[in-house]
């Protein structure tokens, strides 16, 4: 994976010094909270209901074991012994003291990590496919391009006070595992007719209160124009994105109001101008970055045999492992969704254990997924049983990937000041209701996502089943959505009808799965059945 050179390290160290200085000015009263707010946000520091929350960037979701270990140590030293992995492949700590943050950033900098631009109205951490470099179905590894974009977007002086936050994802396979079209810019690596690799640009996707699927605005941008084209997209947005109403400030609104063709035309004009400005790094820079993402030293004669006589192990392999490009290896996902647990949470000890196991069994590498799980990208099949046993002993062996227990949930009213309703207890109740392995196996793939308010941090629009917390005359209430998806077949869920209380929503989910089980045809997932039979049968069962 990527390693900092002296320049990268210096940039991160400088940021720590800058932030230390900003905190000093805040603590001495030189800065008011109002003045400090936009500054701390550019460093991932939020003020939540009870304490500060710090969001640490995990660029394109890739970590080495030393980094993972430090994430565990920070949870112990500065938080309450937990970390929370997020839907943008980052990690958050919910109980942070302002005075400690400069020291936390200094600890992070020692292992080439930071919290730069993890919030605020700037270009955020670049996300990517969690199986990058390991998946059998990818065209190229998308991460070198994400790294190039990471450097370009870090402290970009023109784009630090955009109308609103800006999220970019890069993928390189047909199966979209990063919700690429729900980003402000989604980039798909593609090959053109001449056999050259380039970037396909989708602009103006997003969730929040006005969910939109990003339209394609440029079919092919050559690799040596990637930064210039991105800069043109951002400049048009910075100049013309709406600033009169923060709910209409995301680029999706600009693209929607202008129309994608007009937006694309304006970008094209700016792009033509910028091409003469010499802002593109030479291809040699990409060539410098690429080898960091070379394959690890796979054994070429590793065996594909697996002893599946242990039924629990077998279940885990079937649910949580994914095809690797290298024979004899597999991609194993650790579910951070134990029955009744808090989605995405891991204890300091669990984090350190995963760090050690990655070192022993996955060439020192881990990934964070947007579904709030952890991936061991390169596990030799011969080691898989041992790995699973060690995970299972630590409560990390849950076999429920992409099934109804693998819930995405935002922090909700337990932590978040914007929330209408709690998300975590609903996730816990659903996870318990559908807890048994038999039930989950029977239902199969079902992506369930919960947000505590319309901001959609829990991706409820993109859930096969989505749950949205609303406020109904001061009482927490939950709406049910069906039919969303964030894969290559991205779609937005539709609300079934009137909302429910906490127990009512769990019952409604059960009724919806009942309709599916009664109607499904051979090989259909929940989503497929819904798409075939439509909303009505579900409505009837739920409200009838």
């Amino acid at each position: 994976m990527y390693k900092y050179d002296e320049y990268d390290q210096q940039m991160v160290d400088t940021r720590v010094a800058e932030f230390r200085d900003q905190v000093r000015r805040r603590l001495s009263g030189e800065l008011t909270e109002d003045q400090f707010r936009p500054l701390r946000l550019q460093n991932g520091l939020y003020l939540q209901l009870h304490a500060y929350m710090l969001r640490v960037a995990v660029p394109y979701g890739t970590l080495n074991s030393a980094q993972m270990k430090v994430l565990g140590d920070i949870a112990d030293k500065y938080d309450r012994g937990y970390g929370h992995f997020t839907t943008r492949q980052n990690i958050q700590y919910n109980w942070i003291k302002l005075e400690d943050t400069p020291d936390i950033l200094a600890d992070l900098a020692k292992v080439e990590m930071h919290a730069i631009q993890t919030s605020g109205n700037c270009i955020r951490n670049i996300s990517s496919d969690q199986y990058a470099g390991a998946a059998a179905d990818e065209l190229v590894d998308p991460r070198p391009y994400a790294e190039l974009l990471r450097q370009w977007s870090s402290f970009h002086p023109e784009f630090l006070t955009l109308p609103r936050k800006f999220k970019i994802a890069v993928i390189a396979s047909e199966t979209d595992r990063a919700a690429m079209r729900l980003h402000d810019i989604g980039i798909k690596m593609v090959k053109n007719d001449a056999g050259e690799i380039g970037c396909q640009f989708y602009v103006g996707g997003g969730m929040g209160r006005t969910p939109m699927i990003g339209p394609m605005i440029k079919e092919f941008v050559p690799l040596d124009q990637l930064i210039t084209y991105s800069e043109a997209c951002l400049r048009v947005y910075n100049r013309y994105g709406r600033r009169d109403n923060k709910y209409k400030a995301r680029i999706k609104i600009l693209v929607h109001e202008l129309g994608k063709d007009e937006y694309a035309r304006q970008v094209e004009e700016e792009f033509a101008h910028l091409l003469s400005q010499g802002i593109e790094p030479p291809l040699a820079e990409l060539e410098r970055i690429k080898p960091y993402f070379d394959d690890p030293a796979f054994e070429t004669d590793a065996s594909d045999d697996l002893d599946l006589s242990d039924p629990d192990f077998r279940l885990w392999v079937e649910r949580n492992c994914h095809a690797h490009k290298q024979a004899g290896y597999t991609i194993a996902t650790v579910s951070l969704k134990p029955i009744g647990g808090i989605p995405g949470d891991a204890s300091a000890d669990q984090i350190r254990l995963m760090a050690q196991l990655a070192k022993d069994y996955s060439f020192d590498e881990l990934r964070v997924t947007h579904a709030q799980n952890i991936v061991f990208p390169h596990v030799k099949k011969a080691d898989l049983y041992t790995l699973w046993q060690k995970l299972d002993e630590a409560g990390l062996g849950t076999a429920n990937l992409d099934s109804v227990g693998d819930i995405i949930a935002c922090p909700g009213l337990d932590y978040c000041s914007l929330a209408n309703a709690r998300s975590i207890p609903v996730a816990q109740k659903i996870s318990e209701r559908f807890g048994s392995a038999e039930k989950q196996a029977e239902i199969g793939e079902l992506k369930l996502k919960i947000s505590g308010c319309i901001n959609a941090c829990g991706h409820h629009h993109a859930g096969h089943i989505g749950i949205l917390g609303v406020d109904k005359k001061g009482v927490e209430n939950y709406q049910l959505l069906l039919g969303g998806s964030e894969g290559a077949d991205t779609s937005l869920g539709k609300i079934t009808g009137p909302g429910f209380d906490e127990d009512g929503i769990v019952d409604a989910v059960e009724k919806a799965t009942g309709v599916y089980l009664a109607n499904r045809q051979e090989g259909e997932r929940f989503l497929d059945t819904y798409r075939r039979i439509g909303m009505d049968p579900f409505k009837e069962a739920i409200y009838g």
Partner: protein, 145 residues
């Protein structure tokens, strides 16, 4: 008029009152103009030779349109003064300078030590912008190789 607190130019200070973009493009022979966040800096491109001072106003520092305005002017070859006025805070200074600002007239004067630290903060930069500094990628690949 608010005083210029920092200036990185050797030529004589321009003290002409700045007119609005509309007034300027209508007819004026003014040599100083003031850009508001909603103005299109490109409207000035036909007149760059005539201009000695462009003020770019930041009514709120969190509105970043002025950064693009400055770069658009520099990219078009404008070499006169670009002055940041309005709600200018310490933490913007380095970034403004990178986008082509070379004079700063904050509404509320800034602590000079903190400001100097902010201007000097970044020994290296990742992007090529209007200030002509060599970005990190250029240092990694001298002569573009």
């Amino acid at each position: 008029m608010v005083e210029v607190q920092f200036r990185f130019r050797d030529d004589e200070a321009v003290n002409d009152p700045a007119v609005t973009v509309d007034a300027f493009t209508d007819q004026s022979n003014a040599t100083a103009v003031r850009i508001e966040p909603g103005d299109d800096a490109r409207a000035l491109l036909p007149y760059l030779d005539q201009l000695a001072l462009v003020e770019v106003n930041f009514p709120a520092w969190t509105d970043g349109r002025g950064y693009s305005s400055a770069r658009v002017l520099r990219e078009a070859g404008y070499t006169g003064e670009i002055r940041a006025v309005g709600d200018i805070v310490i933490d913007m200074l380095g970034h403004l300078k990178r986008c082509g600002f070379d004079a700063f007239a904050p509404e509320h004067p800034l602590n000079p030590t903190d400001a100097q630290n902010a201007f000097d903060r970044w020994d290296n930069v990742y992007q090529a912008t209007a200030d002509g500094r060599q970005p990190i990628w250029a240092k990694r690949h001298p002569a573009g190789v």
